[in-house]
Amino acid sequence: MKFLPLLWYGIWRKPIRTTLIFLQVCVAFALFGVLQGMKTGMDRAIANTPADVLYVGPAVYGEPPLPMADLSRLQSVPGVKAVSFNQGILAFYQKPTQVVYVLGIEPTDLMRTLLPEELIAQPEAFAALRKTRTGILITADIGRKYGWHVGDKVPLTSSTLQTNGSATWTFDIVGMVTFNNRDHGVYVFANYSYIDEARALNKGTVGHFFAVASDPKQAAAVSDAIDHAFANSASPTHTESFRESAQEDLRSLGDLNFAIRSILSAVLVALVFSTATMMMQAVRERTPELAVLKTLGFDSRTVFLLIATESILICIAASLAGLALAWITFPFAAKYIAGLSMPMVIMVFGILGAVLVALISVSLPGLRAARLNIVDALAEEQ
């Protein structure tokens, strides 16, 4: 404790230098935070994707939707526990750039809890949707964007026409839902029964089914069984588990992971070298002062600890600032990469990394300071 003023003086001896070291470490750790956040975000997204939910769509992209009548047949495929479905219609609010994607669903508890990591919805919201045929559930994002509130009536324009030829669909906002993926901010939930009855074309069809496998380990086998069952029907299907498609998405980012690791190594090397040089410079400039300290009776260990603590303090403070900076940028980066997150373990790694950087870079200058020969050091000043 009694060394605190000494430490403080040492840190602020050259304010510009300390500030620049601080900034450099801060920027480096901000980059670490963003890159690691990206990686853990993706890993976590995969781990959280339910392995038992299968996505059943038309076998060929762009093919006509699947008939609703397939539902019962799908339920009878061995290994399928439950089935739900949705039908999206693309619409816009006031002008074509303000896209709203209306998902027609069955407001059941199955649908509400199908993707617990993705969709957070209160039972009350789904109950309200069940009660109001023309109801929709909206996200806070879209509410803010267009100034919508629960209780409002909103007219949406869609190229999916109604039976009376109208392109305008009027919905009543009856509740809120939350999507963890901000990309889904433009989604709203509506009643499938209303949409299907009101639309002019494709009546009695759905965009895709969600099938829940009774045993997650059998998901792949159940997928194949479903596709096999519909292979020779009028509407062949393609089924894959959410987990599988998340893995494929990640894999498709290919060598980005390798790139992240290489970049971080490069940053670390440059950073350590830079801080080490600056510490060396500091110790060199302070040689006379350190010599005086030793003359006053400070032993080599204390001098070393003093120098080391200085650099550790700067590095930890700077790494915390950097991680905080990264955390602040997450909402902006989420536009490009979904699901960024900074779990505790990354913070801990960051701080440990900072200590490591400080220790490596202080080792040489610290030893030099500790081994200082008083007579030579004082003589150097002349």
């Binding site: 480096a28 076998a59 060929v60 762009g62 393609h238 060598d255 980005l256 440059a270 490009y336």
Partner: protein, 389 residues
């Protein structure tokens, strides 16, 4: 004249002095090396991806799409229109005198990866007669061409290597029917993605479709494009538009490169900031160690300008080797390396342009890091500096 003379002397003095402060000099060099190395390596991915996507593009090829189609996949081209298009002026004819106009229909279907067994999508392209005339870069490496009217496909070698059951003789279940793989091929520079060709009529009937997506034409010359456009404009029966092959390839390429460029520039910019700060710090230390020198020089009649200029030049001179080393390392380690992104693989390419870009960035880092230390060097209070150590 005086300015240049003073600058020259100062620079020589500074550079000789650097030898005693190698650590500080290296900080700048290593920082810039890292920033430029990362920038060049990551952009080498974009350049490589672009080369793979755009390498086959020829100025004398064009695609005819439906007039209001936003992308080829959403275009709709009825058979009768395709026939009319084939007979328009400006289209080259093959050795047998037939126009090189190939109707195409593309469907997206799934295959399974060899390594994970996971499903992945790939385009199956149904092509009409004349594919080999239209795409002379299509080179069969095994087997033969598909025959019209039969459920036969030829698959790119990428499919054969990465996905299950794409070797000659294998059968694939696509769209509810069995398709026989009769050949494998390479397509010029586009060797990094999976796609298969089949006969257009076989695909249309297997997928219960009645119209193509587009008609690809080989023009008599790049200049014949306008002739074709005018002929289409004057024919009210054809609600279609023509696009250069390059424009369509560009749109596809943007999907991969948009992400790559964003990540590259973002990361490189952050590294450049860190390197600039580090360089500024070491320059401050250098300048501080020369306080007495500068004070003496000012006292004997040097002006501030050459001191500022010499410090800035020093910063730039330190940044340039960093840029060269960085670009050199990127070339050494990554040039030609194969990489993949979004089911699309390509070779990294470190080009002279990228090296020049790296040097440009380094100059920027040098100037910015040198500015404040340079001003500080010239502002030494002469009396104080001379009196104290």
């Amino acid at each position: 004249m005086d300015f240049l003379k003073q600058l020259g002397m100062l620079l020589r003095m500074n550079l000789l002095g650097l030898l005693q402060r190698l650590g500080l000099a290296c900080t700048t060099v290593i920082g810039v090396t890292c920033a430029v190395g990362v920038l060049v390596s990551m952009l080498a991915m974009s350049v490589g991806a672009r080369r793979a996507a755009m390498g086959n593009v020829r100025p004398d090829r064009a695609s005819v799409l439906n007039v209001d189609a936003v992308e080829p996949g959403r275009s709709n081209m009825p058979k009768d229109q395709a026939e009319l298009i084939a007979n328009l002026p400006g289209i080259r004819r093959n050795s047998r005198g037939q126009p090189i106009a190939v109707p195409e229909v593309a469907v997206y279907v799934q295959a399974r990866r060899k390594d994970s067994g996971n499903a992945v999508g790939f385009p199956m392209i149904g092509a009409g007669a004349g594919l080999t005339d239209y795409a002379p870069e299509l080179h069969l490496t095994a087997g033969r061409m598909f025959r019209p009217g039969l459920p036969e496909i030829i698959a790119s070698n990428y499919c054969a290597h990465r996905y299950q059951n794409f070797s000659v003789g294998n059968e694939q279940l696509i769209g509810g029917g069995e398709w026989l793989v009769v050949g494998n091929f390479d397509l010029g520079h586009t060797t990094g993605s999976c796609f298969v060709y089949a006969d257009a009529n076989s695909v249309l009937s297997a997928f219960r479709r009645s119209s193509y997506n587009e008609v690809n034409v080989m023009l008599q010359s790049p200049a014949a494009f306008d002739e074709l456009v005018n002929a289409i404009k004057s024919n009210p029966q054809l609600p279609v538009r023509v696009e250069h092959e390059a424009e369509l390839a560009e749109a596809t390429e943007q999907q991969v490169n948009g992400l790559l460029n964003f990540v590259s520039y973002f990361v490189a910019a952050v590294l450049a900031v860190a390197a600039t700060i580090g360089a500024a710090n070491s320059l401050y230390a250098l300048v501080d160690s020369r306080r007495r020198q500068h004070a003496t020089l000012l006292a004997i009649g040097f002006t501030g300008a050459p001191i500022i200029a010499s410090t800035l030049s020093e910063a730039i001179l330190l940044a340039i080797p960093g840029a060269l080393i960085g670009a050199g390392l990127a070339w050494l380690f990554f040039n030609g390396l194969s990489s993949s992104l979004l089911e699309f693989s390509f070779h990294l390419a470190v080009t002279p342009y990228l090296a020049a870009l790296g040097i440009g960035w380094a100059l920027g880092m040098g100037v910015i890091s040198g500015l404040l230390p340079a001003v500080r060097a010239a502002r030494v209070p002469v009396t104080v500096a001379l009196r104290t150590k």
